[in-house]
């Protein structure tokens, strides 16, 4: 062997696959966690919009949807698609399947939910495809249940059912 320079290059290539895959794993996980905090904030802001009074329930839901869409979506779909993408039902505004208006302990399940998933490994540790897709994905769900105030429409409808005389002072 006249030169040994090729040996270190070859060893570097072998080690770098592992080294960079774990380095980028930590980087990707950190970015995903930071994005997760942002999604929590987005669902909370949307739930606040849903909570606030409006002329009708549909308008309250539209407001919530507008807020979360503006924060998480862009013109081409997901706003931060390099970090995470919408998963399953994606944005859900309204009631949970467990909402029960008759049972007080289950009346609060009304709000906003966002499901998303992000890749953990940017480079597969080893040869390509050594990790199954589902093992490389972290699926997360962010939800904010703040409830909803009755809308003007619902309030007016309720008042009309009462026999006593009411004076509407926008206090619904």
């Amino acid at each position: 062997m006249k030169k040994k320079a090729g040996q270190s290059t070859l060893e570097f290539i072998l080690v770098s696959v592992l080294f960079f895959s774990f380095t980028f794993f930590h980087f990707k996980l950190s970015v995903l966690l930071a994005f997760g905090n942002y999604v929590h904030y987005a669902t909370f802001m949307a739930a606040r919009a849903l909570l606030s009074g409006g002329s009708s329930e549909a308008e309250q839901m539209d407001s919530a949807r507008t807020v979360i869409t503006k924060m998480l979506k862009g013109q081409g779909g997901d706003r931060f698609k390099a970090i995470a993408k919408e998963d399953g039902p994606g944005i859900q505004v309204g009631s949970s399947s467990r909402l029960n208006r008759q049972e007080r302990s289950l009346t609060w399940l009304y709000g906003v939910r966002y499901s998303f998933k992000g890749k953990l490994f940017m480079i597969s540790p080893g040869k390509a495809g050594s990790l199954k897709d589902q093992d490389n994905q972290l699926s997360l769900v962010s939800e904010s249940w703040l409830g909803r105030e009755v809308s003007d429409e619902e309030c007016t409808t309720y008042i009309q059912t009462q026999s006593a005389a009411f004076e509407l002072d926008n206090g619904c």
Partner: protein, 104 residues
């Protein structure tokens, strides 16, 4: 007596070196290491090590992200809620965040 050449020179002729041996050994060694590495990777894929790791670190984190507790379960979970901020173990009880005890 006639002077005889060394055994290596007798086979390969004069002027050859033994550097090829180290190179051959290095290739064999490298091939063994790479084969072992690929074998472990393929075996881990076959045995579902990724799924085991996913279950051990991803599921607690998913619960932590959703409910604020690594052992938490949402109200929509098939097993029912657990360690949830709004979970009530009995009628009239309430829970302050993730305190393990239920306050009357």
């Amino acid at each position: 007596l006639k002077k005889t050449s060394r055994p290596v020179e007798a086979i390969w002729g004069s002027g050859t070196t033994e550097s090829g041996q180290a190179l051959t050994e290095y290739i064999f060694l490298l091939a063994t290491i790479v084969s072992a590495f690929l074998l472990i990777l393929n075996l881990s894929r076959t045995l579902g090590v990724g799924s085991i790791l996913q279950k051990s670190y991803a599921e607690p984190f998913q619960a932590l992200y959703r409910t604020g507790d690594a052992k938490g379960r949402s109200f929509e979970d098939a097993k029912g809620p657990n360690r949830h901020a709004r979970y009530q173990a009995c009628s009239g009880c309430f829970r302050i965040f993730f305190n393990p005890d239920v306050y009357p």
